[in-house]
Amino acid sequence: FLTSVALAQEATIAFSADELGATSYNPITSSNLNSAASLIFDRLVEQDADQSYHPHLATSWEESPDGMSWTFKLKEGVTFHDGTAFNAQSIADWIPDFAGTDNAYLVGAVDSIEVVDDLTVRFVMSRPEPNFLYNLSSTFMGIPGAASYDALGDDFGVTAAVGTGPFKLDRFDIGLETVLVRNDDYAWASDLSKNQGAAKIDRITFREIPDQSTAFLELKTGGIDLLLGVPTPFLKILKAESNVTVIQMPGTGIHYMPINVTAAPFDDIKVREATGLAINQEAIVASIYNGVGAPAHNFLISELPEAKVDPSLNVSYDLEKAKKLLDEAGWVMGDGDVRMKDGVSLTVKLFTQNGSEFTSLTQVVQAQLAAIGMEAIITVFDSSTIRDEYKANRHQLAVRGYDWNNSDILDWFFSGERIGYPNVSMWKDAEGQRLNDVAMKDSKNSDERIANFKMYHEYVLSQHLFVPIYQPTKNIAYNSDRLNVPEKIRGTRFRSQTVLDMTIVE
């Protein structure tokens, strides 16, 4: 009896698709963290699905009217896994460690830290940062124990990791699995979870399963209890399984097709616009995604206020208009099914990265482009080679996706400083750069930031630099014979608040 109880308190969760490949649980230096990191480290604030911010290790915060400082009150009685106490000094020790790392931009606007008292800390800013709470709620802002962080050096997050989270790192086999054990002392959950104490599950194994169908079959056969990132094609059958429950969360990214504006024929804005009009987002969602998720008509996820642009700028399917535009641009229907201009046929390169989701999507895109007389030749690259192709400017169209629920993604993909990669559109434009600077650096507060980014977004849209296609949902499926999972997932992603509320079925 005892052993069966002990066994029953274990759960196996599988990562698939976008959560794969974390190389370390060091939140400061790592560029790729998965959901397990959110269980080891707690953040000052949490963001909910409605984009609102909730206190976690911070009980309250205050932004100075000029935006030049942020003061946080901290929760009392919080301890790290190694027993040291969490207090204002922990914050002061932590932030400077970002200097020189890939994640430094998250605290790029922070000038210095003041320890006001044991439980009060003040961030002194070098410029206003309306995005600060978003940054603080990022997984990368999970707070490590400073003593242990210094002691372990490069091994932090690999051999051991110390945070304040509801679970402790037991073992990390890179690329394979991560084993977490419960932090019995935990009593400082955010208000996103009902359970404010220690987790109900003793031990969680996170497995990385690269092949989506394998992950799916594992769930179906009971090999795993919960699957993060269920491929949409499988949702239908999973829903039909009596012991499997599926939860859909709003997505945090977009699948889109960047257009290389420097490569003929796409140097002609009419051709670019026509390309956008050829893509039938609704049909794609209905067919290969079985109606799950949403069509994307601009670059940002629909939950962001910056996504609510002038409707005329949204990109939607209009075959006739597309054909008309191409005719105007001088590309006329030839003998075959491919348009011609000056003896050149409208044949373009369509790149994508391997991984089954994009290749499927690309093939549909290819078929839809054929309908306007554009012949697209697909090449499927691995992630490294494709970047070389971009940088060498050998591409024309590509199908890709991003996962980022903040409007500053526009800067990342369209800033003239990052031509080639990640600015795959190869777009450099004075007006665009000006709008970018304003949005990134001159926004004093959140409303201003929204307005600035919306303007930038609209300008980007008007230039037809890409074709938005699809906003996927985040799909979670679990074995309801094994686990109880809250019906509604709080937060933007699957994180500690959900795990705290999960229980094993007796």
Binding site: S31, G100, G175, P210, L217, E218, S384
Partner: protein, 309 residues
């Protein structure tokens, strides 16, 4: 005699290893793509990039990089993974056990079953049995491994739920991968055993063995088998490298860790040190395989032992 042979045979490995290391180093640097790109994230500047390039020594001339690498290697240091950010040696030692377990099981399975089947098909007087084994051999050596793996998953893991779909936990997760690799291996070993036995049976000395009054069984086990095992051992020894590296497909389908998958992943991320490390390990395994094969041959065959020293 044998010891002397082994000694010289091992000495011979030195020049071979050095040339292999050059080849591997060159291959890796022929790869397009840049590992640093995998490290860069939103917001980093060209300076950050340059810093990383210097940190990993990628700005040095090729031969400098080679000698550094080789020098470190002699101290047992395989370098630091650029993308995976940890000693390559750690990565290898983490993955190798999986490859070794799978390899050893598949190896044992295919040798034992293969030799038994091969012997049966070469000696049986039942036409039915012979046809059955031949059919099995044919299937085993022609059906694509990944397809077989998929079918086995569909049947044994999903339908019957006898074994897990994927993963590398517990003995039961080994069964399907071992069967998949083993199926091809059994066919190969059985075929070689069969042909070798039939050839051995045609040798002149067998007539004399019969003439001495030995029974067919004694002749088979005491004299023919040792002969038939000569080519079988060679093939099996060569398979050591094959099983370690060639199991990528099976590792991929069954979501198992292993040297092959590590290599493929590192290849995709252009993680030079890891690719180099893995290739070197595989080359080592291949060399070890040929070494074992040669030594086993020498141990079994006095002619070889003599001719080569």
């Amino acid at each position: 005699m044998l010891l002397r042979y082994i000694f010289f045979r091992v000495l011979m490995l030195i020049p071979v290893s050095i040339s292999i290391s050059v080849v591997i180093f060159m291959i890796v640097h022929l790869l397009p793509g840049d590992p640093i790109d995998n490290l860069i994230r939103i917001g980093s500047s060209p300076d950050d990039r340059a810093l990383l390039v210097t940190k990993y020594g990628l700005d040095q001339p090729l031969f400098v990089q080679y000698f550094r690498w080789l020098g470190a290697m002699f101290q047992g240091d395989f370098g630091e993974a650029i993308v995976l950010r940890r000693p390559v040696a750690d990565l290898i030692s983490q993955n190798l056990p999986y490859s070794l377990t799978l390899g050893a099981m598949a190896f044992a399975f295919s040798s034992i079953v293969g030799i038994i089947l091969g012997t049966i098909s070469a000696t049986t007087r039942s036409a039915l049995m012979e046809q059955f084994v031949r059919g099995f051999i044919l299937l085993g050596s022609t059906v694509p491994g990944f397809w077989l793996a998929l079918l086995m998953i569909l049947f044994f893991a999903v339908q019957l739920q006898m074994f897990p779909v994927s993963g590398a936990k517990g003995w039961d997760s080994l069964v399907l991968p071992v069967l998949t690799i083993g199926f091809g291996g059994v066919a190969l070993v059985a075929r070689v055993t069969r042909v070798a036995l039939m050839d051995a049976r045609r040798e002149d000395f067998v007539t004399l063995l019969h003439a001495k009054g030995l029974s067919s069984g004694t002749i088979l086990f005491r004299h023919l088998m040792p002969h038939a095992m000569l080519p079988v051992v060679t093939i099996l020894a060569l398979r050591i490298g094959w099983i370690l590296g060639g199991a990528v497909t099976v590792e991929f389908v069954f979501g198992r860790p292993g040297l092959g998958s590590l290599l493929i992943r590192a290849l995709g991320q252009r993680d030079y040190p890891v690719v180099q490390g893995c290739l070197l390990m595989l080359a080592l395994a291949v060399m070890l395989g040929t070494l074992i094969g040669d030594v086993a041959q020498a141990a079994m065959d006095p002619r070889i032992r003599e001719a080569k020293t």
